[in-house]
C-alpha cells in the first residue's frame, strides 16, 4: 500500500468521514462544471430540495457544444442553445460563476481552470468529464465523475470514493527534438495498455518529467485516463509555481510565500512507498501515432502496423477489428497514410505552446490540396495570445482555418465532424470508432506538430523531416 506520496497526503487532508462498506467521503476543493454533464445533476438537486453547498468552489464554462464558426446567440442548433441556456439559468440561480462565450475567459474547462489559476497543488478537483486528470499536472488529485456524482458534489462538496493504488511512472532522459509530451503519453499507454492503469493513480516523475513545461505536463496527465488511470499527477516544483504566480485566482502577497511552502511539502518524499513502479527512457521515444481504435494501439511514426503475430493473444480480436475499421494492412508502414482532415485543438493539445509547435511547422508552407485543416484554440485566452504573436495569420496564410474556442471535433458534439470514412490526423485524445462524429470516420492521434506536418504533406509524416531535426 502506498505511503508518503502526494496522493496519500492529499487524500488524508480531504477525508471527511469513513463510510459503511469501506469507502471514504472526500472533500472536493474545486468543482468544475459544463453544459453536458450538469443539467441532470441540477434537476436532481431540485428534486431532492437541496442547494449548492459551496457555490464559490464551483466554476462553470461552456465548451462541448459550442460552434467554432459563429458563436452568436441564439446558437444555430436549438439543442445546443437549450443546453447553454440551462447552464446559464442553473449558474445564476445557485450563484455559480460562469465563464461564458465572449467573456474573455471561456474555453475548454481543462484549459481555463489552469490558466485562471483555479487549479492549484494539493487540491482535489472533480468535474463531470474524464479528462479532469489534466489538473494533476499541478500536483492536484483530479478525476472525472459522472452526473450522479456531479449532483453529490453540488449538494455536499464531497464524494464517496475508494482509495486508488499509486504507480510511479519514472521517465529518465530527455525527449528528442520533434518529440512532445503527446508522444510520451501515447508511448506510455501503448506500453502499459488502455486498462493497465485501472485501480491506479499515476505519478509521473523523473528527469524527463521535471524538464516538462506546465502545458506539457497537462498533456501528459490529460491522457492518464486513456491508460485506464482515473487520475495522474506530477509533483509540484518551481515550474509549477512559476506558472501559477500572478494568475487571477492564485494566491498573492504574503499568502503566496505560505502557499509555496505548503505546496512544496506535498510532493512525494524520498521515502515514499509506491504500489508499483515502471521506468521509461524518454530519449528512446519517437513521434508516436495511433493506427487503431483505442489510444493503446500506437506505434512510432517510423514503425509498421503490428501484425497479429506481433500482438499479444488477448489483444488480437481488437487488432483484427481495428484492421477492418481503419482499413490498414498489418505490416505496412504508418508513414505515408493519406489523411483527409487535420484537427489541431482539444483539452489535450489546444494550448498556446501546442499552437506554437504546429505553427513552426506550418509557417511558410501550404496545406496540401484537398485537405481540410483547422485550428481550434483551447480558450479565449489562448486565442488572444495566439493572435498577439501572429499565429492566427501564420495558420491562415498556410491554408488552415482559424476557429473560435471549444472542444470541437475531439468529440464532435458541435458542427465540426468527420464525414463518411474520412481519416483525420488529430491532436485530440480518443480514436474510438465513431468518436469524431461519423460512425465510420477514422482517427489517427498524434502531436499538434505531427498534425501540421500531415496537413502540409497530406499524409502521415515524421515531423522531424520538416523541422530538420
Amino acid at each position: 500500500m502506498s505511503a508518503g506520496t502526494l496522493y496519500d497526503k492529499v487524500w488524508d487532508l480531504h477525508r471527511v468521514a469513513e463510510l459503511p462498506g469501506g469507502s471514504t467521503q472526500l472533500f472536493i476543493g474545486l468543482h468544475l462544471i459544463h453544459e453536458v454533464t450538469s443539467p441532470q445533476a441540477f434537476a436532481a438537486l431540485r428534486d431532492l430540495g437541496l442547494g449548492v453547498r459551496h457555490p464559490e468552489r464551483t466554476v462553470a464554462t461552456v465548451d462541448h457544444i459550442v460552434p467554432t464558426t459563429s458563436q452568436a446567440r441564439p446558437l444555430a442548433d436549438p439543442l445546443a442553445e437549450e443546453m447553454l441556456a440551462t447552464l446559464e439559468t442553473n449558474c445564476s440561480q445557485h450563484g455559480i460563476t460562469l465563464h461564458g462565450l465572449g467573456s474573455g475567459r471561456q474555453g475548454i474547462v481543462h484549459v481555463i481552470a489552469p490558466e485562471l489559476g483555479l487549479t492549484q497543488p494539493g487540491m482535489t478537483v472533480a468535474c463531470g468529464d474524464s479528462h479532469t486528470s489534466t489538473h494533476g499536472a499541478f500536483g492536484a488529485i483530479a478525476f472525472g465523475i459522472g452526473t450522479s456524482q456531479v449532483r453529490d458534489v453540488l449538494a455536499s462538496q464531497s464524494l464517496a470514493m475508494a482509495k486508488l493504488k499509486v504507480r510511479r511512472i519514472w521517465v529518465d532522459g530527455r525527449l528528442q527534438s520533434g518529440v512532445y509530451a503527446k508522444d510520451l503519453v501515447l508511448h506510455i499507454i501503448r506500453t502499459l495498455g488502455v486498462k493497465g492503469g485501472v485501480g491506479y493513480a499515476y505519478e509521473f516523475a523523473g528527469p524527463a518529467i521535471e524538464a516538462l513545461s506546465m502545458e506539457e505536463r497537462m498533456t501528459l496527465c490529460n491522457m492518464a485516463i486513456e491508460g485506464g488511470a482515473r487520475c495522474g499527477y506530477v509533483n509540484p516544483d518551481a515550474t509549477t509555481f512559476a506558472y501559477l504566480q500572478g494568475r487571477p485566482s492564485a494566491p498573492s502577497g504574503e499568502a503566496w510565500q505560505r502557499a509555496v511552502a505548503w505546496w512544496s511539502h506535498l510532493a512525494s518524499g524520498p521515502d515514499a512507498v509506491f504500489d508499483d513502479e515502471v521506468r521509461f527512457d524518454a530519449a528512446a521515444i519517437a513521434p508516436t501515432i495511433t493506427w487503431g481504435i483505442t489510444p493503446g494501439q500506437g506505434i512510432g511514426v517510423d514503425e509498421t502496423v503490428p501484425t497479429l503475430e506481433q500482438t499479444a493473444p488477448e489483444e488480437r480480436p481488437l487488432a483484427q477489428e481495428a484492421y477492418r475499421y481503419m482499413d490498414l494492412q498489418p505490416g505496412s508502414p504508418i508513414a505515408g497514410t493519406p489523411v483527409d482532415v487535420c484537427f489541431i485543438g482539444s483539452c489535450t493539445n489546444g494550448r498556446i505552446s501546442d499552437l506554437q509547435a504546429a505553427a513552426a511547422v506550418a509557417k511558410g508552407r501550404q496545406v496540401a490540396a484537398g485537405i481540410k485543416a483547422f485550428v481550434v484554440p483551447g480558450s479565449e485566452q489562448v486565442a488572444a495570445a495566439a493572435k498577439a504573436e501572429g499565429l492566427d495569420a501564420v495558420f491562415t496564410a498556410a491554408g488552415f482555418e482559424w476557429r473560435e474556442p471549444g472542444c470541437s471535433m475531439c468529440l464532435a458534439m458541435n458542427p465540426d465532424r468527420l464525414e463518411g470514412r474520412q481519416v483525420s490526423a488529430s491532436s485530440s485524445n480518443r480514436n474510438f470508432k465513431g468518436r469524431q462524429g461519423s460512425a465510420t470516420g477514422r482517427t489517427l492521434l498524434m502531436s499538434p506538430a505531427m498534425v501540421a506536418a500531415a496537413a502540409i504533406t497530406g499524409r502521415v509524416t515524421d515531423v522531424r523531416e520538416l523541422l530538420g531535426a
Binding site: 463510510l19 462498506g21 465523475i145 456524482q149 464531497s158 464517496a160 485501472v198 505560505r258 458534439m413
Partner: protein, 212 residues
Amino acid sequence: MSTRPASALPSGPIRQHRGRGVAVVGTDIDTDRIIPARFLKCVTFDDLARGAFADDRMELAGSHPFDRSVHQEASVLVVNSNFGCGSSREHAPQALMRWGIRALIGESYAEIFFGNCLAMGIPCLSAEPATVRALQEAIAADPGAELLLDLEALEVELESEFVGANRWPVHLDPGPHQMLLSGQWDGTAQLVAHDAQLTATASALPYLNGFR
C-alpha cells in the same frame, strides 16, 4: 430504432435480480460506442434508450444483440474486459438502463463507468473469463433462459431446459456490495448528513484559509 417501455428503475436494497441475458462481445468497448456523443445533446436522461449502441446497431442493420427480437426482454448485460472505458458520460449507463438493463456481468469495467452504474443501482459484477464465455455461449444457445443473480451470495445461476442448470461465483468489492445490499447506493443523503465533519475538514485546508 426499436426501444421498449422501461420497467421500474432501481430503488432501495438490491439483493437479487432475475432476468434474461444479452451478450455484447468485445474488449475495451468505450462509452462513445455505448452512446455516441450526438445523443448527449439533451438536458434530461429520459430519452436515451434510442442511443444505446446506436452506431453499432446502425452498422449491423438489425442483427445487433440489442435489436434481435429474442433479446427484447433481456435485463442482464454480459460483457468482456474494460467495458465502459473512455468518456465519463453517465449517459452511457443511463442509456443501457433505460433500454432495460438492470445488471451487468463482465470480466472487468472502467472505473468511472462502474461508479456511474453503482450510483444508479446497477450492479457491475465481475467474473472469470471462463464464466463470461460460458454465459455468452449459454445465452446464444438459449436466449430465453433466465439468469438469477444472488447479490448476497455473489453467485449467478442459469436456468435453462436446453443447456441445463449451472452456477458460477461473481465478484463485487465490499464497499459497492454493501451499498447495493443496504440500498445506500444513492448516497447523496449520507454525504449531506456529514455536514459538521465537512466543515471541519474544510476549515483545516490551507488553500481555503489563506494558506495559514
